[in-house]
Symmetry: C2
């Protein structure tokens, strides 16, 4: 059916694509010709009868195609004066096609990422099957800005059972990742008159930025071997952002006396504690320290996430809130994006309720524990490297003695050798006089790629060290 015509009044060749229907092929051909500027604005088209004869189409097909393009604004039909091409700007240069997915680093030792190759695919699929087989009107109808009640119930139970969190489903809010949760919470704090949030120094720069973007000032609390120096908490501080179980990035837990001091500060001043329990599932030498929230549930927002257990791309996180914050936080969530996608909320609820989630976390914990031990054994052979923090989480901080090259140089040397890791200095608010260090994530690579990654890391570090003073 490949045809072409040279209109009696316009000199134009049109190929009719045989893979489409006749009418649709004619429409596409005319549309393309107008867009590409081959049919200029104002051009009078052949009569429907004339064009039908020329192309061997029925007149009805041509009329329908003209009508369609007139409806869409490509053509203008005036009774008595025929059909002309409307004034459409010609197509701009085709933009370069989308760039291919950038290849990841050869060795992914970034902190905070779990081994997603160990994603419990079978359990996830089985749970998806159960969810999809359930009531679809429940599953796919308009959602709940607070989060699906099924997931809130499962999470409240899970947090009580595994992290000593004191909460109920009506105090849980589900967000599209911790990042969104912290952002909503900061908005609510600002609107309630808060001005100052105390943050750990060092801490995650991205989350400090989230807090600051809402207009809140951050007050740094230096971190020592007992965690954040919470004596910085005064009446002027409205909220404190803490990683009490495993300080990010130094890896130390908050000392019991400081936990009590934070709780006392919150009670006395009405200040709010934001507990970022980003990797509280992973402690390797003992039972994890329970959540700080447990000793001040009415003044603490406990924040947890599935990003470190299943993968960040699921965008599933939760907050256990003091009662009076639930309503404003849910309102902020609704304003931001109405509600979080429901299907994976229901799947995660099923995984938690069926204990498949616990099994996955336990299995991961055993794997990561071995990985950390391997890392420490290798680090012990490198002079001037000191491993910091307790056996926990998905990363280890190693500080570099003064005789190492500068942290930036070590990092960019690693990057050039295909190693992705983080530096300590970018996490400091005030890096002056602080030790240089590297954050080495030991969870991200698939199991088979971990030892090669360690080999590459320590070969590269030993080479980098040999440059000192060079």
């Amino acid at each position: 059916m490949r045809k072409s015509w040279s209109g009696s009044r316009v000199d134009l060749h049109i190929d009719l694509d045989a893979s489409q229907g006749r009418r649709s092929a004619l429409e596409s051909a005319l549309r393309d010709a107008i867009r590409q500027g081959r049919l200029a604005a104002g051009t009078l088209l052949p009569s429907t009868r004339g064009l039908a004869t020329e192309l061997g189409l029925s007149r009805g097909t041509v009329t329908a195609a003209y009508d369609q393009l007139a409806e869409e604004g490509y053509l203008t039909s005036r009774p008595g004066s025929g059909t002309t091409v409307a004034d459409i700007p010609p197509e701009t240069e085709a933009s370069p096609s989308a760039s291919p997915i950038p290849a990841g680093p050869r060795h992914d030792l970034r902190p905070g990422l779990p081994d997603v190759s160990a994603f419990p695919a079978r359990a996830w699929l089985a749970a998806t099957r159960r969810v999809v087989a359930g009531s679809r009107s429940v599953m796919l109808g308009a959602g709940d800005p607070q989060g699906r009640i099924e997931l809130r119930t499962a999470v409240a139970d899970y947090l009580g059972r595994t992290r000593g969190v004191v909460t109920t489903p009506d105090r849980i809010v589900i967000t599209s990742g911790y990042y969104q949760g912290l952002s909503l919470l900061s908005d609510v704090l600002v609107r309630s008159g808060a001005r100052t949030v105390a943050v750990e120094d060092p801490s995650h720069n991205v989350f400090r930025a989230v807090v600051q973007r809402t207009g809140l000032a951050v007050r740094p609390m230096p971190v020592d071997a007992d965690g954040a120096r919470v004596d910085a908490l005064t009446h002027e501080v409205d909220a404190v952002l803490l990683t009490p179980s495993h300080q990010y990035p130094t890896g130390v837990p908050l000392h019991p006396s400081r936990r009590q001091a934070v709780s006392a500060w919150a009670r006395t001043t009405g200040g709010l504690v934001i507990e970022d329990d980003y990797d509280g599932e992973y402690r390797y030498d003992r039972q994890p320290v329970g959540a700080l929230q447990g000793i001040a549930p009415d003044r603490t927002v406990y924040c947890g996430t599935a990003s470190k257990t299943l993968g960040p791309a699921l965008r599933l996180a939760w907050m256990a809130l003091p009662p009076e914050l639930v309503k404003p936080v849910v309102a902020a969530k609704q304003l931001a994006d109405l509600y979080t996608e429901s299907l994976s909320q229901l799947v995660l609820a099923d995984l938690i309720t069926s204990h498949a989630y616990d099994r996955h976390v336990r299995a991961s914990r055993l794997r990561y524990r071995r990985r950390r031990e391997l890392l420490l054994a290798r680090a012990a052979g490198v002079p001037g490297l000191t491993v910091r923090g307790v056996p926990a989480g998905l990363h280890t901080l190693v500080t570099l003695s003064a005789d190492w090259p500068a942290e930036d140089e070590v990092r960019s040397f690693c990057a050039r050798h295909g190693l992705a890791l983080r530096g300590l200095s970018e996490l400091h608010i005030d890096a002056h006089g602080r030790p240089a260090g590297l954050l080495i994530g030991f969870a991200a690579p698939p199991e088979h790629a971990y030892r090669p990654a360690l080999d590459a890391l320590f070969d590269t570090l030993l080479t980098a060290r040999s440059f000192r003073g060079a």
Copy 2:
């Protein structure tokens, strides 16, 4: 293993829960006793040796439990002075348990909702299986703020093929629903200096509110039988929000001459067209009118969604943007929530690429077409009801003649009879002098529930009408 003790120095009974390990049972019991105020702040606990003897536990178990609770901040241990209960506020009254999921309306005739009971569960599961079997590091690692390239590629192809949209994958941005997309776009417009957005009157009140919340002023364009009166577009208008294929809520398409006028306005003034193609998949009497974006691709943001085809709870929508808007919109998306959940993006990309999505849309179109015809046949039997708009979409507007009771009364009478539908007046910016009307969605009920819903609707309407002048 259910045991209790009455401490030598404190009078306290503790039940050890036999379903847990000994140490964990002791910890839970002590934690609960402290939270419930049964062990008051400052209370000196028995020595580990004494308590171990009393409970028949090993001393190590008791020591470990005390240490754990001290770490968590419940207990204070000072060498030489024993272990005391820390100053924890007692548990507050348990909040009422979460309310059960509210039952939906008996007959769901809300506009804009598809029949989610027809969700293509088998195709979705098969696609999920394929995605999960693929590279998990790709699937679950950190995502792309612009949206997964797989989905952007599939959507760009789909929109070109079915809606005449002129775009490429690098101009598509995936958002968590159209609501979020419009919100991000409004932010970007405000930051680029825009002040005024023209909106249709009537139009969706929620989306007007999204635009206004960013500080933009809205300028109403009255809607007549040819769609929005676009002569309201002047140099002072920075952007226009339009539903050209099927005006919401009146159901008329934008007249071809007005499409061209909008395109000319955009070209002349540099104004931006935001095309909300919320239900462009559904036209029942002819081929759908192609997207307005096709005649002004460099000045139009085309917005589409999976909410009307698969279900709103998936929170998947897309925008095809003019090139210069891609970067700021992606930046706004990243600031809002980093990126949209990846798994369902990949599943939807698979459904579109395998044409399972097209098949689902075609099957839905046939079903909804029949439903609309049934609705029209029934409406013809009711005096003073006029069906408006073209055969398209998921709803029909019926206006009420002056001899009907007030719109509010009719609606609340319907609500009392378990019928959920919308009123026209709440969608007007200026409802003065405008006809009363009802928006009747015909897609939401499952197939078996549709006829009973129509029966209930028309019985109720006839009864309501009989109240006139009562």
